[in-house]
Symmetry: C2
Subunit: 253 residues, 2 copies
DNA sequence: CGAGGTCAAATGTCTGACATTTGTGGCGGC
DNA sequence: GCCGCCACAAATGTCAGACATTTGACCTCG
């Protein structure tokens, strides 16, 4: 793929890295393909070689491309990408069409991980954690059911789940909160009607979030784990990550 | 802290980044302190400004330091560090004395996460995954009980757990396998007698790994989850992450 | 047909200068 | 004496040009 269809102007070397990184995440180039040469990038974006090299160094650090003297730059396999890096997550969060396979992977991770995180949160949450959860939950309440405010609703949704990760009071889990934004935002964009009336028996999303909040508030680890599973199950079923039948049996034991 | 006590020669800009990064991870400078200036680094290591700037750019990308024109470089808070980046993990893996608090955080994460990973592995493992697990397990068997081969034993230990993460067939979990190396290697270095005879009733480590392998082989998710908890529990008790009493009750439900 | 050499192409590195941002100290006015 | 403004120094950011090194391909010669 040539770079003819990429926009020109953006701010500085970081902006260039972001532009190229998002193009890579969106599948503009495929793994194994050769990435444009430094000189071509300089000409196309009308920037100095320094900026190009700085941007490419960022992409290398994120495992998106691989460079060797004399050969050029190659796009790495998706398995090499540093999905856990905050930069990658932030870039992925505002792409219109991220790789659906990638989204499934991220959500499958969340579906297996967040119950355990909720357990930890129920045991470790402190007053300020509960305040953050409460604030995010109220934000979700205010913006619920209004399609024109779905963007804000997603923001509060992200904040809620991030607060859960943070309440675990574990550095590693907390950093993984970065993965939430791309997952939640992209999923809402995918489903044009994010707040469709629940045609299944799983109850509405807001109430499930509320039950998770209450479980953490009461330091009930078992209830928190179950509530976290409930929050994610509907989407997991939609994405085919877990079969409808086992959503309530084998998975939860 | 000055940089007078850091060694001089290492290979290239990557080597310099590694040296400085490991110094940061080891607590050579504390969060909030100002990092040495470019010019001083050039002089001390006798390298060009390009290499210094390249190395510092890496440290910025990893969230270890923060730079602003006119002010200099500051060491970031530990919470900002990108612990999930493979580079950081690799650096941390061969530091003689990593921050013990950091190790506790990483192990606490593993203790809460690996049971869920083992569940996924039991459901998703394929033939090649079982081969990898088997090979690592046999390697652990060969090197067990021989203090002179504790390094190789640790390598096989890492390979075993990495194979479990990989067997989950989830991109995100698989990438988190990077965290295993620093965790396992550092813990073995800490306990001078890694293979001391089991004075508690938890059984020996090798047998517990074997039970995890068998559970995955038989696609028994419940047994795999329990076995993974068993593998980690002894160390978790030693580190004070979980109380001895609740190791078998509340945590496993 | 194969081994080796030569060349072009691409990335890596160096150097020196200049631009920009930031903090600080001095200077003057009120 | 206090406050605001200005100028300067210090640090990082940026640029441009040249040169070094690695790689792959082509070409030649035995």
């Amino acid at each position: 793929m040539t770079l003819a269809s990429l926009p020109r102007h953006q701010g500085g070397a970081d902006g260039l890295a972001r532009l190229l990184g998002q193009a890579l995440l969106a599948g503009y180039w495929h793994p194994g393909e050769t990435f444009p040469r430094e000189r071509d990038l300089c000409e196309h974006f009308e920037v100095s070689r320094n900026q190009v090299r700085s941007a490419l160094a960022t992409l290398v650090a994120l495992g998106l491309i691989e460079r060797t003297a004399g050969r050029g730059s190659l796009v790495c396999e998706i398995g090499e990408w540093h999905l856990l890096d905050p930069l990658v997550s932030a870039w992925m969060a505002d792409i219109e069409a991220p790789d659906p396979q990638l989204l499934r992977e991220i959500f499958a991770f969340r579906y297996s991980a967040e119950p355990a995180v909720a357990r930890l949160a129920a045991r470790a949450a402190e007053a300020e954690d509960l305040e953050r959860l409460e604030a995010a939950y109220q934000g979700m309440q205010r913006t619920a059911g209004r399609p024109e405010e779905s963007a804000q609703h997603a923001e509060h949704d992200v904040a809620f789940h991030e607060a859960v990760y943070r309440a675990s009071h574990n550095l590693v889990w907390r950093q993984m909160g970065h993965l939430l934004k791309p997952s939640i935002v992209a999923l809402i964009q995918r489903s044009q009607a994010p707040l469709q009336p629940q045609r299944d028996g799983l109850g509405d999303s807001l109430a499930r979030h509320g039950r998770l909040l209450e479980a953490i508030r009461h330091r009930d680890a078992d209830a928190a784990e179950a509530a976290a599973t409930d929050v994610l199950r509907r989407t997991a079923v939609d994405l085919g990550i877990v079969a409808d039948a086992e959503a309530g049996s084998a998975w939860r034991r």
